[in-house]
Symmetry: C2
Subunit: 354 residues, 2 copies
């Protein structure tokens, strides 16, 4: 594993989960599986004093450096990072806001192609995440389990036969599993069915979030649906129940696409092409507009209207964020400067015309 | 002169006044001179019975067919035209709304390249118009006088040594001259100086109208400034006074362009390029939006930001109108169909990308 801070190399190649391939990739952006784990006999991070935090950090670090699957990974000591780099990793979906906030002995490991990432001393001692393109929860679960098994051989997990894995927050206790799927649902938004869908999902004990994770509003018609229940069910049950819900949502979105496109093709065409035009021509663009327009462009691709590269659109959704823009430019930028650089980056990436 | 209704041939080539050349053509679209004339001993159109209207029609027609400058012109009997063709000529700035409204024995002659057009039995018996590209009032006045002199040799004008040319409406009496200049003033609008300018102009007895003539609001930052006073001054004085005002307005607009572009280049760039993007990509577009966007594109050309053909933009400002779109398609169109065809026409004319 690379011990040096090699965050800058992440600028050159983005995560495999953005490649826009896999099952149902016309609607499903990505699938994510996350395990929460803690070490036996050591207090949860928020209750631990500095020496205990350090102890956890060192034990987990040693174990991680020993795992063959992570030997090409990047080790990052969060506490040593400049703020810009912290937000860069956050924007990247590699770490949580919790991890980059104040506190000593925090770290993460970023695996090859950003498929695996592991946080140390987040809310839990260990947060293991696997992120893949398309609808691939079972494959992601499989990878997460393999890494988890490797870790379990080297670490003594806090585990109770009655409760399962013990976690800092009771909502994670049991399997410690959070499975989530990021969906692109522009037509459920367009036809105003989305509120109903989200409500129904909530009643079935699933949670809906935005593209940019916990605590963010849905933007650009991206919705992340995940399980709430972690206790009293097996990992397979949790994933299979989520998949049933996802399948339903996918079929609603597909029906809406077909219906609207048959009934009022021009309105949808116009919205998509105008978005494309704005993206290719604007000189100043804020994040919110960029996300909305990229979402429309993605829909254009999904409907076969515009021949464009989905991976490129997905990557842009990350690259247009403030820390990414500033890392690309190699310096701090004001909001206005970012809006200008954002527009410039998008034009370049979409094949500049003027 | 062509006696047949050859309106359809106008579809293929638009008027010379749209060519975007001539003095100060970065701001001045076109210059127009109009004479109002009536025949001695015959009542004004609105007071005349049918036989007198017919008499005027025949006398003027005979004279017009005798004038060498008009031998390549098109003679159009307005009363025989389908509504679509009437509005086509109106949109073209060749006839007035007054002429195409109900009433018998109305006609017009459209000269070569649409520089000269003459209306018969409008409010006055004769309305002679000369329309040229750029700031060219003196040249337009010269042409108008030449034709007027030819007509005067063949017709007995209603003229009083005290009042000058007698006209149906007293606001035209005297010289019968209306001189007007169409200006493109986007930066006076952008910097909100335009209201002041229009007020000052009004105090100096000049009138400001929109692109689409009398009774229209200014749209797309186009303003038509003309003299109100026709009496008690020579034609030269009227034109020279108007030119003084126009020169002032042009210098205000130039100053505003320079100032804004120096201080906040990106905002203006963004507005111009976004407009270009919309024009090249939209699939549905109403007239109002099209005019605004074309105005921004014209500004882009005027500021040297976008390399595009001004004649093309000017022509589009005419072609996107309802009757023109329907003539091009050769059939009646609903508003929605027009909005679709308008977007299509603009894309084609600006070099379609997708």
């Amino acid at each position: 594993m690379e011990k040096k801070n090699k965050i800058d190399q992440l600028l050159n190649q983005l995560g495999a989960w953005l490649q826009g391939t896999g099952q149902d990739s016309d609607i499903v952006v990505s699938s994510r599986v996350r395990f929460a784990r803690n070490l036996k006999g050591l207090p949860f991070y928020h209750w631990a004093d500095e020496s205990k935090k350090k102890e956890v950090y060192e034990i987990v670090k040693e174990a991680l450096f020993d795992i063959p699957e992570l030997k090409n990974g990047i080790w990052v000591d969060i506490s040593e990072l400049p703020d810009l780099d912290k937000y860069f990793l956050l924007e990247r979906h590699l770490v949580s806001r919790e991890l980059v906030e104040k506190g000593p002995y925090k770290a993460c490991v970023i695996g090859d192609q950003e498929i695996i990432s592991i946080m140390i001393n987040e809310e839990d001692h260990i947060r293991l995440q696997v992120l893949e393109s398309g609808l691939s929860l079972l494959s992601a679960l499989d990878i997460a389990r393999r890494i988890d098994a490797q870790l379990a051989r080297r670490l003594n997990y806090a585990f109770s036969y009655e409760w399962g894995y013990l976690t800092a927050c009771p909502t994670n206790t049991g399997t410690g599993l959070r499975a989530s799927v990021m969906l692109h649902l522009p037509l459920l938004v367009f036809t105003k069915q989305i509120a109903n869908v989200v409500n129904t999902i909530a009643k079935l004990s699933f949670t809906t979030r935005g593209f940019y994770g916990e605590g963010t509003e849905a933007s650009g018609n991206f919705f992340q649906i995940s399980n709430q229940v972690t206790l009293g069910r097996s990992e397979e049950e949790i994933v299979e129940n989520l998949l049933k819900v996802i399948d339903q949502v996918i079929s609603y979105e597909r029906q809406a696409r077909e219906k609207v496109y048959t009934q009022d093709r021009f309105t949808l065409d116009d919205q998509i092409y105008r978005s494309y035009g704005m993206l290719k021509y604007a000189r100043i663009m804020n994040s919110k507009e960029a996300i909305e327009l990229l979402s429309n462009l993605r829909l254009g691709k999904e409907l076969g209207i515009i021949d464009t590269d989905v991976r490129n659109i997905n990557e842009l959704l990350l690259l247009i964020q403030p820390a990414h823009l500033q890392k690309i430019e190699g310096k701090k930028l004001t909001m206005k400067e970012r809006d200008i650089k954002r527009a410039e980056l998008i034009r370049k990436r979409l094949g500049q015309e003027v």
